[in-house]
């Protein structure tokens, strides 16, 4: 191991038995198997071998002191598994990793927070869980409270906090960790924009102070901004590693290929699967199907869904629109524009109408995110490609835009 290498990953692999992640056994199953096994042998059936799946395999990487490594990839590519191995939550099946220095990991903000305890008590609890000593926490206590901005609520039980305050307090503790190696999973996906900026700033600070950062994210803009090096995972394997800009380009290329796979065949999705989105059709005003849409057209996105339970209540759907660079340009969410949906049938359609589509001609990628009673049911990154062509957005008959920016905005001119 060279002196400035702080993380060395060699031929790392993690294998799961299919279903192992969710299922737990009851003794009943074991007893049933004891009974069934001899019967099966009698009837000449072979014992069904449970299939294995390599969540991660053949990972080789060296990360030097002070580097910021971004880990990107689609859902199920193995990003979280890699982080879990590096943070020693789970052991690898093969290969090894050497880490030099004190490691802290943030797979979620506020790990171990207890709703009954006060903010103060939770700072000590969370700090200890993250590996800070009591002394250290005491020294930084005022700073943490300051950073979180919860002020007078510090002696109030956490259950009375708003979700914003909760996240701010949690991140404030995490931000005052001083490890030599910091592993971060998409924790920045929470909180308001202002707070996210504050967090990114803090991470930049960490990176600049010569510490090493490994950072998993779907947000290409923050990856681009923070990372000196990038790793792209695809189905558990290293697809590429190196220069951030090039790796991101490769990821976007990958996305544009994947999006051609019919949605019901996509396996790179997360969630319980209680409800799955099965397809998308684009419709115009009259309900006729479209392949591409024009700027300024009234369009309807018609989603097919299928669920095992009907009726399904408390469904929320969010659609994230990304541009070619993998940047989120806007988000449509039933949380803000509708009541929770109730789906009566086991299979059916959900319609989302966008009047006068304000997008400049280009390709866009839509991420679908479905929750039922606040539990993620289906989440497919870049599920669809939306091809937007020139159209008469302004109603002036002029369809030649200069394609500056992302959006078309109505405007009027006059000389007075």
């Amino acid at each position: 191991m060279k002196t400035d290498t702080v993380i060395k990953i060699e031929n790392l692999g993690k294998c799961y038995r299919i279903g192992e992640r969710e299922q737990y056994l009851a003794l009943r199953d074991i007893l049933m198997n004891l009974v069934k096994a001899p019967l099966r042998r009698l009837s000449g059936q072979k014992k069904r071998n449970k299939p294995y799946i390599w969540a991660l395999r053949g990972i080789n990487l060296e990360i030097n002191q002070g580097e910021v490594l971004g880990v990107i990839g689609r859902n199920g590519a193995g990003k979280s598994t890699l982080l879990k191995i590096l943070s020693r939550i789970t052991a690898p099946t093969e290969g090894e990793v050497l880490l030099r220095g004190r490691v802290s990991s943030l797979l979620e903000v506020g790990t171990g927070f207890h709703p009954e305890l006060t903010g103060r008590e939770n700072i000590y609890l969370n700090g200890a869980i993250l590996g800070m000593s009591r002394n250290e926490i005491e020294k930084k206590f005022d700073e943490i409270v300051d950073f979180s901005g919860v002020g007078d609520f510090i002696d109030t039980p956490l259950k009375r906090y708003s979700s914003g305050m909760y996240v701010r307090l949690a991140f404030a503790v995490a931000a005052h960790l001083e490890p030599e190696i910091l592993l971060i999973d998409e924790v920045l996906a929470v909180g308001d924009i202002q707070f996210q900026q504050k967090c990114l700033g803090k991470m930049q600070e960490v990176a600049n102070s010569g510490r090493t950062l490994v950072f998993v994210s779907h947000n290409m803009a923050s990856i681009q901004r923070l990372c000196t090096k990038c790793l792209l995972l695809e189905q558990g394997k290293m697809r590429s590693a190196g220069n951030t800009r090039e790796v991101i380009r490769e990821y976007l290329q990958l996305v544009s290929e994947v999006v051609n796979i019919p949605l019901h065949q996509r396996v790179d999705r997360k969630g319980t699967g209680q409800l799955r989105i099965t397809g998308l059709q684009l419709l115009d005003d009259s309900g006729a199907q479209l392949n591409t849409v024009a700027s300024g057209a009234n369009i309807t996105l018609k989603f097919g869904y299928s669920t095992g339970t009907a009726p399904t209540k408390d469904v929320h759907i969010a659609l994230g629109f990304n541009n070619r660079n993998g940047e989120r340009i806007f988000n449509l969410n039933t949380l803000t524009t509708s009541d929770p949906l109730t789906l009566i049938n086991k299979e059916g359609f959900v319609l989302c109408t966008i009047p006068r589509l304000p997008l400049v001609p280009d390709d866009y990628f839509i991420t679908v995110f479905v929750t039922i009673k606040e539990v993620i049911s289906d989440w497919v990154q870049d599920a669809f490609k939306l091809k937007v062509e020139s159209g008469d957005f302004f109603g002036t008959g002029k369809t030649q835009y200069d394609n500056e920016g992302n959006f078309l905005v109505l405007n009027h001119w006059e000389v007075v």
């Binding site: 799961y16 192992e20 992640r21 299922q23 737990y24 056994l25 009851a26 003794l27 009943r28 074991i30 879990k84 191995i85 590096l86 943070s87 020693r88 939550i89 789970t90 052991a91 690898p92 099946t93 093969e94 290969g95 090894e96 990793v97 050497l98 880490l99 030099r100 220095g101 004190r102 490691v103 990991s105 797979l107 979620e108 790990t111 171990g112 207890h114 009954e116 305890l117 008590e121 000590y124 609890l125 200890a128 869980i129 993250l130 590996g131 000593s133 009591r134 039980p157 030599e180």
Partner: protein, 272 residues
């Protein structure tokens, strides 16, 4: 030189990393404190619950077993006899019940952060020690009431408490680890603990078992409860032989539990 961590596949039996456990001692303390604080939050009488549980059990047992059934109590008031047993028993029973479910109730910690997993059942068995201390006060109250002078051997009580903790912890290592994979444990333990009360000389003296005494001895709590009572009250000599058997079984169970726990903890995060 910076500390070096090596991560590699884990196979077979794995020893206990004492150095690491020592480094995480503050977390053990913090987790224990968390459970203690949370326990009596939003209750009206708070810590008094710690006394109330063994006290009320004692009252009921004294009425039924002492007054109605007239179980012999080795020449001391039945109330004092049963409370001196229930005090230790309550600690043991609550600790095992709580600790065997402890990994499951801390799923969010196990799947999100690394620390020695042993801390979780360990802290669960420590929480009850405070309750024990609170409930202990009542022993003095009863001594005054019944005009008993506590013997010097009362100073030995911490030794018995330590081994009772060790027994509870050893049992909890096994049960909590098995519970991760087979959730049946959650249903078996409260039931098992309840039955075990009747196979332990808490509410009756060992002598009552006659020639089946040896059966009771297989249960380490027998030795501990008897010795605990003898040390507190001094109504009869401490049976060191019996305590010795209990300690031997306890130590074996504890070490076995440690090794088992360490060997299976590698899959906790994957299946919990």
């Amino acid at each position: 030189m910076k500390e070096l961590t090596k991560i590699k596949p884990q196979k077979g039996l794995i020893g206990v990393n004492l150095k690491e456990l020592y480094r995480y001692r503050e977390l053990l303390f913090t987790l224990t404190m968390r459970d203690i604080k949370v326990r009596y939050k939003q209750t009206v009488i708070g810590g008094i619950w710690a006394v109330l549980q063994p006290f009320l059990t004692m009252v009921v047992f004294t009425l039924f077993f002492g007054k109605v059934v007239k179980i012999p109590s080795e020449g001391i008031p039945y109330a004092l006899f049963s409370y001196s047993g229930l005090l230790l028993w309550t600690y043991f029973a609550n600790s095992v019940t709580k600790a065997s479910n402890s990994l499951i109730s801390n799923t969010n910690l196990i799947s999100k952060i690394y620390f020695p997993r042993l801390l979780i059942p360990l802290s669960s068995t420590m929480v009850g020690l405070l309750d024990y201390l609170i409930a202990f006060i009542l022993v003095f109250g009863m001594m005054i009431y019944y005009r008993f002078l506590p013997p010097l051997t009362i100073l030995l009580v911490p030794v018995i408490l330590f081994f009772t903790w060790m027994f509870a912890a050893g049992l909890s290592f096994w049960l909590s680890a098995i519970n991760v994979k087979y959730r049946d444990v959650r249903y078996v333990v409260p039931f098992f603990v309840q039955l075990l009360l009747f196979m332990t000389p808490v509410i009756y003296p060992v002598s009552i078992a006659g020639k089946y005494r040896w059966l009771l001895m297989l249960n380490p709590m027998t030795g501990f409860i008897e010795a605990h009572r003898a040390m507190l009250i001094g109504h009869q000599p401490i049976n060191y032989g019996m305590v010795g058997i209990s300690i031997s079984i306890t130590v074996a169970l504890f070490i076995g539990g440690l090794v088992y726990f360490r060997s299976v903890e590698r899959y906790f995060a994957d299946i919990i």
